[in-house]
Symmetry: D2
Subunit: 305 residues, 4 copies
């Protein structure tokens, strides 16, 4: 297996010049595009890794999984899915038009920006700081570590250039789908996107999702079985933005990507995978990340389908 991982890594290394590092947030564009990391954590607690597996990068949209889990655990699934859909989007992740054209102005799913802002707003808490602390706590539990930190430069950059997200939030506020203080929710949203993680962290979260919600280390049920299944199903159809369908055909693993270059992949009852490389395809997904996952899926026959 170590060999397959090495092979995947080497294959990835060859493709780091393709695609484009995210530049819509100025701070993100400064990153070194040659970085490639990979980490797989199996159900029997083995960790196989390669390259920049312990390099930190920002979590970006992979973080959207956390408030979704919290919201599903705190509410009935019906309540949640009455407010946010589970329909994949054929549009870009920051598209606004479907908030206007779709029935009831519901965001299509929890992984486009509008949907993530909405699920984040549904997390209970005495105040916005409390909400954020719950996000951090759950993230740390799932990553099996402490001391999660924010990349302050990225956070400042997200905040300074976040007008599209402001538009999405104010639009949802105008249709009464969303309640609350827009700037304060977005502040949490930007901080959550700026969390510094590495491939090990990502693989650890995925390992829980691959294990019906239980820690592979302690056997403790960290997420209910039902919520785990829902999150995996949504990742399978909406996890790579409008590249999700193609990814399902080519890789076939419930996954969530982020524009920081990370992808988190779940192999049910087998392992969790975290990959990282900054250059992105036209949908905003790591090109090298997808290539490596494709290789792993084919070679090890990991596809769910």
């Amino acid at each position: 297996m170590k060999k397959i991982i090495e092979k995947a890594y080497n294959l990835g290394r060859e493709k780091t010049q393709q695609g484009k590092v995210a530049d819509y947030i100025p701070e993100l564009s400064k990153v070194d595009r040659d970085q490639v990391g990979l980490c797989m954590i199996t159900k029997d607690k083995k960790m196989i890794s390669a390259g920049a597996y312990d390099t930190y990068f920002t979590m970006q949209s992979m973080s959207k999984v956390i408030p979704l889990i919290l919201t599903l655990e705190e509410n009935s699934h019906d309540h949640v899915f009455n407010r946010v859909g589970v329909t994949p989007s054929a549009e870009s992740f920051n598209s606004i038009k479907q908030l206007e054209t779709m029935n009831e102005h519901k965001p299509l799913n929890p992984f486009i920006n509008a949907g993530a802002i909405l699920t984040l707003s549904m997390v209970s808490g005495q105040d916005y700081e409390h909400k954020f602390q719950k996000i951090i706590s759950l993230a740390e539990v799932l990553m099996d570590r402490r001391g999660l930190e924010i990349d302050e430069a990225v956070y400042a950059s997200e905040k300074a250039t976040g007008d599209r997200n402001r538009a999405l939030a104010y639009y949802m506020s105008s249709t009464k789908i969303y309640n609350g203080d827009v700037e304060k929710i977005l502040d949490i949203y930007f901080r959550m996107c700026s969390l510094k993680v590495n491939c090990v962290d990502i693989a650890n979260i995925a390992s829980v999702l691959s294990n019906k919600g239980k820690s592979i280390y302690t056997g403790q049920q960290l997420i209910s079985k039902a919520s785990t299944r829902a999150v995996n199903a949504i990742m399978a159809s909406c996890g790579l933005y409008n590249g999700s369908g193609e990814f399902a055909v080519q890789v076939g693993l419930a996954s969530k990507s982020g524009v920081g270059g990370g992808i988190m992949s779940v192999v049910p009852e087998t392992c969790g995978i975290g990959v990282f490389s900054p250059a992105l395809d036209e949908h905003g997904n790591s090109i090298v990340g997808i290539e490596m996952l494709k290789y792993l899926s084919e070679t090890m026959e990991l596809s769910m389908y």
Copy 2:
């Protein structure tokens, strides 16, 4: 002519129970729907009026004409129309989707909310207060009076419920079409919409537009001929939101409506007309106002077409 005006007024009175008073701004919904006002000011300075012609109501979207004039006078028309289109919209006045789908993310025209916020932002000024003072000054000059006031309750209501407009402004900011402080521009926008006017004021503005930009009282050129023609052309095709085409067929006068219930109509080289009645049709235009204008247009053969 007095008789025709009276007849139009009586015809209007019969229809005040149709339609719906605007309620998206809570304060607007409190108005008495039975009010009907009408005022015509002819090129030779005669004023014929009926009903509640001197009752105050808020200017709302009719005010969008003022920053459009200012922007056209301060810039080349090319410069202005490179940033805001002159294409009528088949969508509602507060629609956001075309900002996403149209080329260059330009607002379709200066009379949908997005376009008006944008032209307002283009008015020069040392600061936002200065911009607003220029709006007020031009409005007073065109209305031939002083002491224009804001309806503070409506202003507060607009501001409290203005999230759709915030979404539009932040969206334009995210695509770099718009520059500036969103909350500050919207503050001017909400104040401008809350200006208290009556049918005489409206007819006076229209009289200038009907007179190639000259005051009918002093003969002074208040607006350049070219800008006057542009404003009238845009009013003719975009002035009644997505009801503009129907209005062109039925009435045929360059006009601008507001959800406060007012409509301003220009009869080239003849007269300016102001009508008022609060209940609106599904496009947001005064039902009684349109009925009265239709009667006047048919009886006096005023249609441009």
Copy 3:
């Protein structure tokens, strides 16, 4: 006046290298782009012309005016406008999406292809041939001449490449807006678009529309006053496809263009104008045609606004 017309013509001649001759119908692309024609016919029956004013070209979308007039004359305006809107379109003339997204699946206006096919289907007749004969008859009456002919090569080309129009017609058939045999209506539609006209023909039609529906030669009421007004109003806001708003600001005349390079313009109570030059702008309107009309409008102060 002759001088102004000459000047406009010369101005036009300089710009024949701009833009692109229509090529979506192969036959149209064979035309000589250097041709420029212009004809003005005044209320007192004077004809001033320049250049290729008597060269034949195909009528294309200008022909849409004919079934619109027939339908308006045969039905109450309410009946017509319940089936086809009068809302300008921000989309291309052969766009289909608004048939799906707009209320009741009504075509936005009678001058986009869908709307023209629909109004054509509403013209009464014992059979399709009879309908077509009525189109020809009215066209000849308005042009004050006999012997109108079809350009057989263009007709064959339109028919061979008319799948977009088939899609529009079948879509309308599926929503029950349209009734009848799609291929037979489209056959008339393609023949109508292929009628050979010159600038004099076009100016003659416009002269009737500029004269409240009366022949300038005989004084006979050829089109009712009400239908004339409706047609002019729709031309003013929808006549140049999604370039209509811009044209209203720059020229300000109720007009109808065709991709054959012709534009028909109405100056109320003054004259009818026909211009022709094949190269088109991005909306499908004759570039040189617009330039000449703009010059005429500015110099002679013809704008309605």
Copy 4:
């Protein structure tokens, strides 16, 4: 297991009054809504069934799987997915607007009508009849039986009311995505949708897809592993129209529905399931079918996620 199947069936029986039998094709609306059928065929060739498991109904959209398989087997996957996407649609199955708005005018996926018509057109064959025979042959092989028949009344009804599909095909023809005779392809399409199948047939097809493309009876590779995986992946994200995301969360099985009331479900390496009951939800999926699958998935822990 027999008990669970019985329980699912009884649960389904209670809900046959919900929803609406398809009526867009008049012939479909005549069916008895009380019918409920269910059949499961396991990898070790056991068949467990209940209710109207051997009643015939028309295959409708479930038949779209057959030309997709043929096309994938005859071409490189890249070639196929360059012409038809694998993106789930948030719109109705017969929507046309995304053919206009999406890049390259590609149908979003092979299971919306446009996409199915396109994949059907890509199946090789000496003529249209030959293409259709290949469809029938593959269907019979996958169903492990002979004598597949068409419901002539439904076929005639589909053909008579198929204008929306004509619009889709002509639109694709106008953008050059599609080549061929529209009426002839649609004739095959309508015949294919009218094939009479029962739950056993459906479960048999699903059993092949659940067995990496091999017959569970003979072990023969009927579909390549790669094509099987692609078909399952597309069914997982696009198989229940715009209800696919919800179904993934609630049931979690790669499935394809038809408006005849059938649903085909694949449980990888375990079994194939066919369910049937005519009344549909707002997306066009069998309400009772989904309820039974949901019960089976929960009770037997079948979800892939």
